[in-house]
Amino acid sequence: MTIKFILLVNKQGQTRLAKYTENMLGTEDRCALEAEIVRKCLVRSDKQCNIVYHDNYKVVYRRYASLFFLVGVDNEENELGILEFIHCVVETLDKWFSNVCELDIMYSLETAHYILDEMCMNGCIVETNRSNVLAPVHLLEKATT
């Protein structure tokens, strides 16, 4: 019933953000897992469904231009709900970075993580309202400027 990981991957299969909520893996296992899943998802066409199996995970993914958002969930999770959640995350990132792109996330990894943490905690959805999510981010980022 929980989210196991959230991955942001570009078209070349490079990880741009990775967040695991349980089963902390070692570096090598993590890389292997990411490579496997990305390989499986990237070859699929737009017409195919957005759910793939991997080991005991189900991976729900969605593509936005050159970025793939992949969310690993257990068997109990509502796949359509996760698709909606991915969209919600993207909209939030989009609002914060105004037209989010790969480079925004690379250069502001910390902020991107913070936004995700405001939306998802311990594998559960915390908040889906964009302004509520971004309020604390605004507060904090003011300090740096």
């Binding site: 953000l17 796949e79 359509l80 740096t144």
Partner: protein, 707 residues
């Protein structure tokens, strides 16, 4: 001094090859290590940020774990108000590093318990939120015990931002320490009356977590069903307010989904609460807009809930119809979840699945692997004796054309289904032959072994009567050849399995060759081909069978004789394999000679018994070991039930001197009560080899009735 994070990213991006990138990272990691060793705290913040980046790229960062802990520990001092936001930023980085970088060493987490505790008491809500988030993501059982009071207190905070985070943090605490459930249960219920959607969502999530942690708590929560139902109802079609959580015209679909999930847990197996939620479930199922994904997510959850709780019939029909709409949907995701749901409800409501049979079978042929897999799961529960012919025919058609990656799964499924639901034996054999022809290389060893045995029995039955025997035997031969040739010689993937499958198949082939002289040349040709197979086991068998077939007629016939049908296919396989071992001794004539001897005995008995079947005196044939020491002191004792009489003739000799020798002993059995009592026979063999005594006892039954 190390470079800035921005520069590091630029350098990595400028790297043209993977090797170059590794180089950049290695250099930077070395610089970071040096900085950590020098206890340079000025750039600690930046260094940890760089570690996170390096970690994200998939390089080892364990050397930075202590530095992260130091960063968090250095935050412990009270800050001046003016720099409190900067202080928040430092906290943010510290906790982020903690969540990302500290993967394997849970014990070092103890070091941050105190910092977390301080931060949970901080007056700044952002810092409290950060600490709750970190705790919610990483806390161990020990930390959970230490910090539970703080979490509990924050769940009652006046700030909704903290309430929701504390509630989710509590769900982590409970997952780690389930016995702390009690104090949180009441508070979780209190969160349901919150006005903030985020807090309600967190409250429902926490209640769900509790239901999973302790099934007893379900009864405690059941009184809340009416309240949950009215909460859900208030979310339906109320676009007038609460617009801040709308998704495509629906009020907070995420909360609706979670509420439906909780209702499912509470209503499962309880008629009263199921009744209380019936109306609202019907309202959700019939009023939710299904043109957008969010609406479908709610419908999907609602259908699952209706099917899981003790719903009335009308509601179930509504749910099944919704699934039908899903199955016909253009969007593959919707079809996928429909199949998935059907598979779940199949056990409780087989009728629901049968109604959509045609669609499901269509989905097995879908271009999309995920859909195919979900549909195939479903086909399992769909098949029964009544429709197996039809469905198997469709699946077999598809097996011929589907892509190679999918063949193993499909072939395995068909084998199981055909085996379980076959209406008669002949149909089973025909279907299996088709599977083998289409996908021989993917069929599992068990299926082939089972089949080869059955096939043998059947072929024998046909030989005795029907005219069609020759034709079907040819088919059998084709099927076996298909297995052998598909598996090929050299595929090293699954080499072990293939080796065993080929072995079993060769045995079946040899048996077929003996039984049907017309096929013998073809069999011989195949055996000859496989006598050059690289796998020693396969090669040995092929050579053995070839030699056996070429040996004097009686030997091959006796060794590969079928056992009476009553013992079933598997038995035939097992027993027929035994003489193969015995023959190995004869064929190779080498040091293995003695090993197969014991195994040969039951087979010899068997041959004797089968001779009896025909009512004629039987011969016990024992293949002699090659260069192995001579066998001496042969004695055979036999016993029969009282209603039968037995006469045991003396053996032709009591010892075997060398290869090629034969020892014969006759048994005459007369059953005085044929047709009423089954005949059984107990045989005890004793002989000496290498001066050591060997005894073996077997019981033989299962004679055809009438003997």
């Amino acid at each position: 001094m190390t470079m800035r994070l921005r520069d590091l990213i630029k350098h990595v991006r400028a790297a043209k090859t993977a090797a170059e990138e590794r180089n950049v990272i290695a250099k930077e990691s070395a610089a970071l290590r040096k900085a950590f060793k020098e206890q340079d705290s000025t750039y600690r913040h930046r260094n940890v940020a760089k570690l996170m980046y390096i970690h994200m790229l998939g390089y080892p960062t364990h050397f930075g774990q202590m530095e992260t802990l130091k960063l968090i520990a250095s935050l412990g001092f009270p800050e001046k108000a003016s720099c409190s936001l900067l202080c928040c930023l430092a906290h943010r980085l510290g906790y982020l590093g903690l969540m990302l970088l500290l993967d394997e060493r849970q014990e070092v987490l103890m070091l941050v318990t105190n910092s977390l505790k301080n931060d949970l008491h901080n007056r700044n809500m952002l810092i409290q939120g950060l600490a709750l988030c970190a705790l919610g993501n990483i806390c161990s059982a020990e930390m959970a015990r230490d910090l539970a009071p703080e979490v509990e207190k924050l769940m009652g905070s006046i700030n909704p931002y903290l309430r929701k985070k504390a509630a989710l943090c509590a769900s982590r605490v409970l997952r780690k320490v389930p016995e702390m459930l009690e104090p949180f249960a009441e508070q979780a219920v209190a969160l349901l009356s919150d006005r903030n959607h985020g807090v309600m969502l967190a409250g429902v999530t926490l209640m769900l977590e509790m239901c999973h942690a302790d099934p007893a708590v379900v009864t405690l929560f059941r009184p809340q069903v009416p309240r949950l139902a009215s909460l859900l109802r208030s979310l339906l079609g109320s676009q007038s307010y609460a617009t801040d959580t709308d998704v495509s015209g629906l009020t907070d679909p995420f909360l609706q989904v979670k509420l439906l999930r909780l209702l499912r847990e509470l209503g499962r197996g309880d008629a009263e609460s199921s009744d209380a939620m019936g109306d609202v479930l019907a309202a959700v199922a019939s009023n939710t807009e299904s043109t957008r994904n969010a609406g479908n997510a709610i419908l999907y959850e609602c259908v699952q809930t209706i099917m899981a709780v003790e719903s009335i019939g009308g509601l179930r029909v509504l749910a099944v119809n919704t699934l039908g709409r899903f199955l016909a949907h253009r969007d593959n995701n919707i079809r996928y979840v429909a199949l998935h749901t059907l598979a779940r409800v199949a056990a409780r409501d087989p009728g629901a699945v049968q109604r959509h049979r045609a669609t499901v079978v269509d989905c097995v042929r879908d271009a999309d692997a995920s859909i195919r897999r979900a549909a195939l799961e479903l086909v399992y529960s769909l098949v029964n004796e009544g429709n197996i012919r039809e469905l198997a025919a469709e699946l077999l058609d598809y097996l011929a054309v589907c892509d190679p990656g999918f063949k193993p799964d499909l072939a395995a499924k068909i084998c199981v289904l055909v085996g379980r639901h076959a209406p008669d034996k002949r149909w089973y054999l025909d279907s299996m032959a088709k599977v083998l022809r289409q996908a021989g290389a993917f069929v599992t060893e068990e299926a082939v072994a089972g089949l080869a045995g059955d096939r043998l029995v059947e072929a024998r039955g046909r030989l005795e009567g029907e005219d069609a025997a020759q034709v079907s035997a040819q088919e059998a031969f084709d099927a076996l050849r298909a297995i052998l040739t598909r598996h090929g010689f050299g595929d090293c993937v699954l080499a072990r399995t293939i080796e065993r499958v080929n072995g079993v198949t060769l045995t079946a082939l040899a048996k077929l060759g003996v039984r049907l002289p017309a096929l013998a040349p073809q069999v011989a040709e195949l055996l000859d081909r496989f006598s050059r197979a690289p796998a020693p086991e396969v090669q040995t068998r092929a050579v053995e069978y070839a030699r056996l077939a070429a040996a004097r007629g009686g030997l091959a016939g006796a060794v590969l004789e079928p056992i009476p049908a009553a013992e079933g296919g598997a038995g035939a396989e097992d027993l027929a394999l035994v003489p193969a071992e015995g023959e190995e001794a004869a064929g190779n004539g080498g040091g293995t000679g003695g090993a197969g001897l014991l195994g040969a005995d039951p087979a010899a008995d068997l041959a004797a018994l089968l001779g009896l079947d025909a009512g004629a005196p039987a011969a016990t044939n024992l293949p002699a070991p090659g260069a192995a020491p001579a066998l001496a002191g042969w004695s055979l004792q036999a016993a029969v039930p009282r209603f039968a009489t037995l006469r045991l003739s003396p053996p032709s000799g009591t010892s075997l001197a060398g290869p090629g020798q034969e020892l014969t002993q006759r048994l005459h059995v007369v059953n005085s009560a044929p047709g009423t009592k089954p005949l059984v026979l107990r045989l005890r063999l004793a002989f000496q080899r290498d001066g050591a005594g060997v005894t073996d006892q077997v019981e033989v039954g299962g004679f055809p009735p009438g003997f």
